[in-house]
């Protein structure tokens, strides 16, 4: 229990730090004054709604880039070959079943987050999903709940903290786990702590599950990351924005997203005549 409070204190302090950091940045951010500041909470001003200072919120960029390339290396020499073997040995049907089992085992964590967010209806859905899939779906092998009209809805502590008003804080690249930020990083730790499977057995079964989770994510995402890599000129920056924007989309209601700065017509847009190549 003592440790629990220590962790809680560190967590609180670091989020406080992320907050303060953003506050200072916002004061310095001149663009901020031109936006409708009154309409949004001050701490959002640095980029959540305006989306124009994403590239700035990476004070640890040199370190992050370092970890990113180490991760790439580990990926290339270790994870990718194993993932390739995994997808060769186990047919797609089998991989889908494994994917379902892992997702079902994650439902308790989803439930905790549903409740922390005060989303009681989502919480009820999660309970029913877990009950149906664990029984009729044979330990989660078959996702019968989706067929019954209760689709999976991912939640994690990072999203919960966001729903409480916490900004993402500085961007972070975690060793092996990859892109994250101050808020989501602590969220991952919290999710790990509330996961009942991690209480029962700490050791081989947990490591085993994590390993299969990595393979599952890898074989599922292989095409997406490949595509980003192929189309980008700065892979690190590309992944950073994809992650930041994706988390932003998951934490912002559609109505609020309209405020995000996107291209629009202006008077001199047709000034430049393009040559046909």
């Amino acid at each position: 229990m003592k440790y629990f409070f220590k962790i809680l204190l560190v967590l609180a302090l670091s989020i406080e730090f992320a907050y303060a950091n953003e506050g200072i940045k916002n004061l310095a951010n001149k663009n901020c004054a031109t936006g409708d500041v009154k309409a949004v909470p001050i701490y959002d001003c640095g980029g959540i709604f305006f989306g124009n200072s994403i590239e700035d919120d990476d004070p640890l960029e040199p370190l992050n880039r370092g970890i990113f390339w180490v991760n790439q290396g580990i990926d290339y020499v270790l994870i990718e070959p194993i993932a390739w073997a995994y997808s060769e040995i186990i047919p797609e049907y089998g991989r889908d079943r494994i994917s379902n089992i892992l997702r079902n085992l994650n439902e308790p964590v989803v439930l905790v987050n549903n409740l922390l967010q005060g989303e009681l209806e989502d919480g009820r859905d999660t309970i029913w999903r877990f009950v149906f899939n664990s029984t009729i779906g044979v330990a989660g092998i078959f996702d019968v709940s989706t067929d019954l009209g209760i689709p999976y809805k991912k939640e994690d502590l990072g999203l919960t903290l966001a729903s409480w008003g916490f900004g993402p804080g500085p961007y972070l690249v975690l060793p092996i786990l990859g892109p994250s930020n101050m808020r989501d990083g602590w969220g991952r730790l919290g999710d790990f702590a509330v996961d009942p499977i991690n209480w029962w057995t700490f050791g081989l079964p947990v490591t085993g599950r994590t390993a299969v989770q990595v393979l599952d994510a890898k074989t599922d995402n292989i095409n997406v990351t490949d595509e980003i890599k192929k189309n980008s000129i700065d892979y690190y920056a590309s992944i950073r924005t994809w992650y930041t924007e994706r988390r932003l989309a998951l934490t912002t209601a559609v109505e609020d997203r309209q405020a995000v700065d996107t291209p629009r017509p202006d008077e001199d847009e047709d000034e430049i005549v393009l040559s046909r190549e």
């Binding site: 989306g51 924005t241 924007e245 989309a249 998951l250 393009l274 040559s275």
Partner: protein, 199 residues
């Protein structure tokens, strides 16, 4: 009384014509048209890959506002760029966009594209919501931001699963320019190299 009524009506009509530049229904029809043209192009087995790429570029140039998109993704560096740099950058931006979308839609076979609705935005544009249904896995949502300017409807932004492609590119390009010490030429060179890798 009749006169007042007439004035009110004409005022209302005036407001309507300046504010609602593009109606959601029109925007949906516009996107639907582009969607079916692209799909018939991708599934047409009688044309060569080169012809397909050329045709695709033609559609893209007509339906995307490349200038506005390019200007946006260069962000604050747009003002610093020389007219030559701007022109060079926009051409490269167009070429890399065509190349990346052409590869993206290449393996379109058993997927289905459908428009699911639209939403008028506060800035005068309309967001058309669509999704790609895959034989396996969850559908992918794609939103298209459409404006009408100079009497023409065009796409200004593509939002994939909530991720704005313009914002993503702007952030990436800014990172490239910053890494190169604030020189726009570094980005132009990188784009040129990228374009070569597509060929």
């Amino acid at each position: 009384m009749k006169k007042v009524f007439f004035i009110l009506i004409s005022l209302w009509m005036g407001v309507q014509s300046t504010q609602a530049a593009v109606s959601p229904k029109q925007a949906e029809a516009f996107m639907n048209n582009i969607g079916s043209t692209v799909i018939s192009l991708l599934t047409d087995k009688s044309i060569t890959d080169q012809q397909r790429a050329d045709k695709f570029q033609e559609i893209l140039e007509k339906s995307f506002n490349v200038n506005a998109g390019g200007k946006f993704v260069l962000g604050r560096y747009w003002k610093q760029a020389t007219p030559d740099q701007k022109k060079h950058f926009l051409n490269l931006f167009k070429a890399t966009t065509v190349a990346s979308y052409a590869t993206r839609f290449k393996d379109y076979t058993s997927q289905k594209f459908e428009i699911t609705g639209s939403r008028p935005e506060g800035d005068g544009g309309v967001t058309v919501l669509s999704r790609i249904i895959r034989p396996k896995g969850a559908p992918i949502s794609i939103d298209w931001k459409i404006f009408e300017s100079n009497g023409e409807m065009r796409i200004y932004d593509v939002v994939l699963e909530g991720i704005s492609m313009s914002v993503t590119l702007r952030s990436e390009y800014a990172a490239v320019i910053q890494q190169g010490g604030g020189n726009i030429q570094v980005l132009v060179n990188a784009l040129e190299k990228k374009l070569q890798s597509f060929k």
